[in-house]
């Protein structure tokens, strides 16, 4: 999996591409920890290029969202593919995480 960082409005956007499986999930958690350490609080996860997510990836999403919320910030998820959307839905993540149709809307 590749993680590409950029800035949009007041949000730090992490564009995820490829497969967020159990091998790749630790890299995402480390990336969010590193952002938190530099004071970043508003993170948008752009999932438009995310082909696959397993429960290990969902765990990394949940942990990241909890940490950002505890730091007074927030995580927003944008542009889920239909397959990833289904996994969010079956996991009840559509109600606990903030999900937007586009990265632009998530970074408002």
């Amino acid at each position: 999996m590749d993680i590409t960082e950029s800035q949009l409005n007041s949000a730090t956007v992490l564009a995820l591409s490829g497969r967020l499986d159990g091998l790749a999930a630790p890299a995402l958690e480390q990336k969010v920890d590193a952002l938190l350490a530099t004071g970043v609080k508003n993170v948008v996860l752009d999932c438009s290029g995310l082909a696959y997510v397993s429960s290990a990836g969902l765990r990394a999403f949940l942990t990241s969202a909890k940490k950002l919320k505890a730091a007074g910030g927030k995580a927003s998820f944008a542009a889920l593919t239909p397959a990833v959307h289904e996994v969010f839905e079956l996991s009840g993540f559509l109600t606990v995480l903030t999900v937007h149709p586009t990265t632009a809307a998530a970074a408002q």
Binding site: R19, D21, G22, L23, A51, Y52, V53, S54, S55, A56, L58, R59, L62, T63, A65, K66, K69, T81, P82, A83, V84, E86, V87, L90, S91, G92, T95, V96, L97
Partner: protein, 142 residues
């Protein structure tokens, strides 16, 4: 002609993406949707991750198998057979997916997703082996 693929895996998480590729190659002639592929890859990742992480507490190298087949047109079956410690992951209590963020437990989702995404999930202990069978009808409406 019908075809099945027998994969022999090491107890190493690096097998996850390799297995995903083999699943894609096996399913391709059956014309799966993206959702189908993701569902089957995800179910297998969840189950083999547990076998790899918890099944072999001796820490030594072991192998186990994943057998891919199509028991009927438009249906994919995977059978995981391991000689790891006896464990039925399907017997675990249901997770509550309606709790708010603060109360959600980190983990336990994997088996929940397996059951939701598969049409069949079945555990059996036979001849000292764990035998987990999962099946999905391709292109199902959901």
């Amino acid at each position: 002609m019908s075809s099945s693929t027998l994969l022999t895996l090491a107890n190493d998480l690096a097998e996850i993406p390799r297995l995903a590729e083999a699943v894609e190659a096996f399913c391709e002639p059956h014309e799966p949707t993206m959702k189908d592929l993701m569902a089957i890859q995800l179910a297998l990742e969840e189950l083999i991750t547990n076998v790899i992480n918890y099944g072999y507490p001796d820490g030594l190298p072991h192998t186990f198998t994943v057998d891919l087949s199509s028991p009927a047109p438009g249906c994919i079956r995977a059978v995981i057979t391991d000689d790891a410690i006896a464990y039925d992951p399907l017997a675990r209590p249901e997770v509550d997916t309606t709790l708010p963020l603060e109360e959600r437990k980190i983990g336990g989702l994997g088996v929940h997703l397996v059951k939701k995404l598969m049409d069949v999930s079945h555990y059996e202990r036979r001849d000292g082996k764990n035998i987990l069978t999962i099946e999905r009808r391709l292109n199902r409406a959901d």
